[in-house]
Symmetry: C2
Subunit: 360 residues, 2 copies
């Protein structure tokens, strides 16, 4: 375990006070606050910034969730680059989201927070870059929903992105959409959810824990589960053949993942970010997608993760090939692990050389 | 769609009034009622009976859930064989289960119904066969949990089983156990579940519907979902990019599957049968399993289903190979479909020739 680096700077930026920020859903937000953090120093020319986009449960504090990739001598080295993280709209880690006050009511947005797209998140990040005087990034990098942001950056702001690295990211297929929906249903089905208008400290913990447990199986592979848990009874001495309340080991693990999550995440934020993941695509049909992909000017690196059944590597590879067909310089690489989707967090040693190569 | 055949006979058999029926869990049941039904005529020698074991949501009325396999000129032809179905212990379709009255309290068992194993179910079925004078079956056949029963019949009553056909059945791996657990958590997390002691007509419909929706993804394959639903919005004219309550098409399908299920199934029965599925194995370790498998004297036919990720075909094949290694006449066959686990219900035309061949 690596020590977590503290940000060099961490702060908030608020905009859209006067003119509201328009979302793809047709709704607007006003104002919009973005929590951001950076590690290292920005060069006077502001040309040494690597933007790291976080996944569903991440934050602007990249060092907290990618500690093995950030630091001296690592792929994201604050001595060489300024490593910037921006909390996405909709999250509960400092940016405007369902736990923020809705100026229209004076209450928390809760269930009234609008549908937000990945491209909305990126467009808001671009406003922050303008504010910071960053005309052009050195690179944008992310995994999962963070990878979707990297892809959106490359096609929506091609002049600002010379390198984009998207790991375990592609438009979700129908099984992925199904799994996301089940998670949201778990939250919405909990009576404590109250249509999203629960009081602070009274969120639907049962539904949110179940949602996280469902998500956890999508982040791991059946191979990993087989190796780690097999058919063993839960380590607490339970016997699933005798008592309905007793569990197998894998069930004890899932319950634990759910329980620890509810203390650190907001159920409505979960609904918003999960929906943003689902609606992400780069065109509604192949023709439109080809046109949009062709806008990218970055050196694109798409990284698939073996045994990732949420974002199957062959779909990530397929997207890389469609970038190539659109005459974009795109490369495909793969992390070979039994882990599944979470491999981008669990196997920094496999990811690091690919990132270093992509940034060259 | 084939017309559903009506049973020739349908009735109840009650035993264990005096001496309680001992379960593998250590608990007992007294009395035990089994609902059963047959199609066709039993020969005086009682040697023409094919026992068809049902899956989680099935019943003794085989014609209701396997209409394309049962009938004149079909693999299970009542003119040639007597086709017998027996509702399993724990179900809510006529046999003793959580909705039955607990003689100890005068109330429904509800959450007090004990853990039941697949082998308990089969041992109770054997008592009914004794009662009916059936010393030896012609064959025992089943898919999913029904396949587990066919396997248990072959090893626990080898003298009574000359042919056994088990489709899409093997001990669940860790991912399967995880998926089962999530379904049970959905039920147990619904406040209406009340520890299993809900009143009739007041079952936890939200939790049970979610459990069924989770189960539905395990019965289908990602390929099938991709072909059928893709990333299309729900057909009711919803737009998931605009409104949190709007869904993708696959989500509308899952919700529908959940909603129709709660009208026909009991949540506590679901917990009991899901648990029976999870705890099924034929030995706690390879040595014990080899010993148990070697007891079978049947011609065993194990049928895997392509793209079944609940009971992966390679695991069904592995079990067939372990039968062979234990010097049991076991064959492996595979249904090639994109459907996934439900293929044994959705593709009778693929299954029929395999069944006919196995029964020769």
């Amino acid at each position: 375990m690596t020590d977590k680096l503290e940000p060099t700077f961490e702060g908030d930026f608020t905009f859209a006070d006067a003119a509201p920020f328009a979302l793809d859903s047709g709704a607007t937000l006003s104002p919009v606050t973005l929590r951001y953090a950076w590690y290292g120093a920005m060069m006077p020319a502001r040309d040494n910034v690597i933007l790291i986009c976080h996944a569903l449960s991440g934050s602007a504090r990249v060092g907290d969730w990618w500690p093995d990739l950030l630091g001296a001598g690592k792929p994201f080295d604050p001595a060489r680059h300024c490593i910037l993280g921006i909390n996405v709209i909709g999250s509960c880690y400092g940016s405007t989201g369902p736990t923020s006050l809705n100026p229209a009511t004076g209450l928390r947005y809760g269930g009234d927070f609008p549908v937000v797209s990945i491209r909305d998140m990126v467009r808001a990040q671009a406003v922050l870059l303008d504010h910071l005087g960053i005309a052009r990034l050195h690179a944008v990098v992310g995994g999962s929903i963070g990878g979707m942001q990297a892809l959106a950056w490359a096609v929506d702001f091609p002049e600002r992105v010379p390198h984009a690295i998207a790991i375990g990211a592609a438009p979700l297929n129908a099984m992925g959409l199904a799994l996301s929906h089940l998670q949201r249903q778990a939250i919405r089905g909990d009576p404590a959810w109250r249509g999203g208008h629960y009081a602070q400290g009274q969120q639907p913990v049962v539904g949110l824990a179940l949602a996280r447990a469902i998500a956890t199986i999508t982040y791991k592979s059946d191979r990993l589960f087989r190796e780690r848990y097999g058919r063993r009874p839960n380590r607490a001495g339970e016997d699933p053949t005798r008592d309905h309340a007793h569990r197998f080991d894998v069930a004890g693990y899932l319950d634990h993942q759910g329980q620890v999550f509810v203390d650190r995440f907001d159920a409505n934020s979960y609904l918003v970010l999960s929906r943003a993941q689902d609606t992400f695509e780069l065109g509604r049909n192949p023709d439109e997608e080809a046109k949009i992909l062709s806008r990218a000017k970055a050196k694109m690196t798409l990284i698939g993760i073996a045994h990732d059944w949420l974002f199957p590597p062959e779909e990530v590879r397929g997207l890389a090939e469609r970038f190539q067909a659109a005459r974009v310089a795109a490369e495909y690489a793969e992390i070979v692990t039994n882990h599944g989707h979470d491999g981008f967090l669990a196997h920094p040693e496999l990811l690091a050389p690919l990132v270093i190569r992509a940034l060259e």
